[in-house]
């Protein structure tokens, strides 16, 4: 049999996690995967792809057998090969809580957890509101605006930089560096290039943050870096490098994901004018609306683990050292768990999505991300009659992990 010469593509390859369909139409792609088998071996990725809600949550909660450690096991090769060339980068990455297992994970997380609880971040509300109001002004006038640069990027990066205690002048630099670091973490581009750029970015961020840490050691202020220096639970404390490393983590984790959440939310509302009407009528719905955006189009599609010992998942025998990809996007669209999963319903409740993961590695910044996006959508709904997404062909960044747009032009119509 020969293929037809029309160029008409057949069903996209189910094993290609970076196919056009996987990147730009993940609902369809992951539905096909889940229907083929909810836990399925992928020879190209060289691991198991997990797409049912039950198996994804079970995987996240089994932190004992499904390791996040990037310095042992099948994901360690990249790192060990780069160890000599990029010693500092690797050294700082080894102090990130999301790529470590217990007990070191507990040490790292416990020292910052209190700063990110719902109660702690609540005191940022007035400042977040002020920023939302200012940034929303740049969306007025009925012109086509680049929502990413005008709003979605700016809000989270200012919030996290100020919370940490970094000066406002460093904002653009922080953004550029954190994007390069994000490319390393979210696995974008070739390995050599990623590490070279990531190394530059990490060193740039370290150079920005270290002087702040030293200044706060001498003179504490009411900011997170001071908090990390002076917090101690049960006699536990951070080293200077741990503080810098985790401040770097918060910078990049705290802005790219929230930026994509805001943008993906605009797209969801742009497609469902009725839901925007509903939110306009009752901005108190912003709370459940944000959960629904997280579920239907969250900024993280999937996170990888590896088996530190054999286990069974979804009827499959997973061997020690196998890679396991827990696909949150697929779990959040699993019809076995969510009624009418592809429908955007801002009143959906309960809404137990896994956009923030689950188990001990559940996103530390979830309360802050929720607060920022709730404030943003509530205010935008108060101020704008309708959202017109102008970008006709939405394109997403080509990575397995994140789900973010390459651009989003929008026209906001005044009330």
């Amino acid at each position: 049999m020969t293929a037809t010469a029309t160029g008409e593509s057949t069903t996209p390859d189910l094993d290609d996690l970076l196919s056009e369909q996987a990147i730009n139409d993940p609902n369809t792609y992951f539905r096909r995967l889940r229907e083929a088998a909810p836990v399925r071996w992928n020879p190209r990725w060289h691991g198991w792809i997990v797409t049912s809600y039950t198996d994804v949550t079970a995987g996240f909660r089994d932190h004992r057998r499904l390791s996040s450690d990037r310095f042992r096991g099948p994901f360690a090769r990249d790192v060990t090969e780069s160890k000599n060339q990029y010693a500092e980068l690797i050294g700082f990455m080894s102090k990130w809580m999301f790529t470590t297992d217990r007990p070191y994970h507990t040490h790292l997380r416990s020292l910052v957890n209190t700063a990110f609880t719902p109660r702690s971040v609540e005191r940022l509300t007035p400042r977040i509101r002020e920023l939302v109001h200012t940034l929303a002004d740049s969306l007025r006038g009925g012109e086509v605006v680049n929502f990413m640069t005008k709003f979605a990027f700016t809000l989270p990066v200012i919030v996290i930089a100020e919370y940490l205690g970094l000066s406002p002048e460093t904002r653009q630099e922080v953004r550029a560096l954190s994007e390069d670091l994000g490319a390393l973490i979210f696995v974008q581009g070739s390995s050599a290039e990623r590490f070279a750029n990531g190394d530059r970015a990490m060193n740039g961020l370290i150079d920005l943050i270290r002087p702040v840490v030293r200044a706060r050691t001498r003179e504490p202020r009411d900011d997170l870096i001071s908090g990390m220096i002076h917090t101690g639970v049960d006699g536990d404390s951070f080293t200077e490098d741990e503080i810098i490393s985790n401040a770097v983590l918060m910078v990049f984790a705290g802005h790219e994901t929230t930026m994509n959440l805001l943008a993906n939310g605009i797209v969801a509302f742009g497609r469902s004018p009725g839901q925007w009407e509903m939110l306009k009528g009752d901005q108190g719905l912003a709370r459940t609306a944000v959960e629904e955006v997280l579920r239907i189009d969250g900024p993280i599609k999937a996170l990888a683990r590896w088996a530190s010992e054999p286990l069974e998942l979804g009827g499959q025998h997973i061997q020690a050292n196998d890679r396991v990809l827990l696909v949150q996007h697929a779990a959040n669209h699993d019809p076995a768990f969510f009624t009418d999963p592809d429908r955007f319903d801002i009143r959906r409740w309960p809404n137990k999505h896994v956009a923030f993961g689950s188990g001990i590695h559940t996103c530390l910044g979830a309360p802050l991300a929720r607060l920022e996006t709730q404030e943003a959508f509530a205010y935008l709904a108060r101020e704008f009659d309708s959202i017109e997404v102008v970008t006709s062909d939405l394109r997403y960044v080509s990575t397995v992990v994140s789900h973010g747009l390459t651009g989003l032009d929008v026209r906001f119509h005044a009330r």
Partner: protein, 84 residues
């Protein structure tokens, strides 16, 4: 889903309720009040006092929960046969 069985020592005036529509098994509560919570077979937290704990620890557990899954409720002890 709750458990508000008997309490230990001087802490007998309050209990905790864990909302399983919100709990994600982050386990912060087990760190702050290890005597008051345990994980069920799904890895979600349940209020199940097994050791010593104080109301202060219970409040710390509530406040540390990133999912806002924990509420503090009056402990009605053995009278609390309401099954909620």
């Amino acid at each position: 889903m709750i458990g508000s069985s008997g309490s230990t020592g001087a802490s007998g005036r309050v209990a905790a309720r864990v909302d399983h529509d919100l709990c994600a098994g982050v386990t912060e509560c087990l760190r702050w009040a290890p005597g008051a919570f345990r994980l069920d077979e799904d890895g979600l937290s349940v209020f199940a006092p097994s050791g010593a704990w104080t109301p202060g620890q219970l409040m710390a557990a509530r406040d540390s929960c990133p999912m806002r899954a924990i509420t503090i409720v009056p402990d009605r002890g053995n009278d609390a046969a309401d099954g909620r």
